[in-house]
Symmetry: C2
Subunit: 251 residues, 2 copies
Amino acid sequence: MISLKFKLISHKIELMSKDKPLILVTNDDGVTAPGIRHLIKIMKEFGEVVVVAPDSPQSGMGHAITITDNLYCDKIHSEDQDFEEYSCSGTPVDGSNSSINVIYSGTMSAAVEAGTEGIPAVGFSLLDYAMDADFEPTTEYLKKITKNILNGNLPAGIVLNVNFPKLKSKDLKGLKVCRQAKAHWEERYDKRQTPQGRDYYWLTGEFINEDAGEDTDEWALAHGYVSVVPIQFDLTAHKQINQLKDLNFEH
Amino acid sequence: MISLKFKLISHKIELMSKDKPLILVTNDDGVTAPGIRHLIKIMKEFGEVVVVAPDSPQSGMGHAITITDNLYCDKIHSEDQDFEEYSCSGTPVDGSNSSINVIYSGTMSAAVEAGTEGIPAVGFSLLDYAMDADFEPTTEYLKKITKNILNGNLPAGIVLNVNFPKLKSKDLKGLKVCRQAKAHWEERYDKRQTPQGRDYYWLTGEFINEDAGEDTDEWALAHGYVSVVPIQFDLTAHKQINQLKDLNFEH
């Protein structure tokens, strides 16, 4: 679940220097991860970039909020830097972000957080977890999606969950708007013992995709497409409201 | 956001001793919180109870997953105990859970986790954060909802988010099935300095309810009802899929 993933929050499409939008770039892999460096480079073509990222990897933190700890936020200084960059403690927001993983994803939690405040946002994740992962094939699609969002084409109340398969540019088939595949994790606990004899466990598990649909993100990724899933943060199962009333849940 | 909250996962409605379902009770306030003791007492009327709860409060952890730390899980032994109880480290799952708080809630993350595995689940939260909060008014409603779920009346693919206002029994108006109110947190960062001169911040904020609808959980709670919101873990904004295609997001 640890990935070289990155995330863009297009932070209040404000006109900074006349016509440049302010773009916040963050991730949960830390400021030094290769993914965020690639994203910064591309976003600088579109606007004023501010980078705020954790001082160490935070994968798997989901919507954790630091309320009982101090938060640190230090400005990073380097001579040839033409954007602001901060390294922060705390729990920004993990994983592949496809399918059910969206609910555990630090990346998507950051995007959703922006969305709740009405800020256009998108989470990007490359399904290559190697330190020398090749981000170049993502470039073309990062640009297309960013342009579309800056043109005001993102519907209100949603954020985008974009996942890239590990493929070379020539093998990528394009963007595909899809739904979240129905899937779950079959968890397993690997039992160990401390030298002092106390039991402890490591969490492991297997991803189970229950969904054969060809309109899902898992299908798209397995077939060479970049998956784009519109994500909502109204979790209400609206269709089931009347069903629950009929089932006497109010009586 | 720290609450005396509790949560019930009706864990695989299996027949244990002939006709008793197995009910997992957990929370994010720790095994010693008053809310979980109340819930255990009531659930024992309905089935075989297993308690698994954190060894210290975990509010605000959301869908955090412990993947980089050891997990401990110790059985609690006491002489007159007729149920199994475990105290665990790690990051179970906070807050009022109404409205947008559902996405930050440890309570609801646990319920959703059960839901992804097809296990009927419900999260309960009392909006009284005092150590001597009165849980007695919740009893009647805990029983009604539990009976309804054990009767098989919970639709597939959803879990319930139940919130209780801080009211006496005679002032509670009943259960109300509702939708999640549209709201967000206006975050503020309280800046301090360490004795060594390094800046740090405490996260504070204000809850902004943008939603005047009378069919929302916030309305119900403000008007004396116990709110019941059906929650889905398919986060896809299905209606927006075609809209994004029309907006050329695939091109």
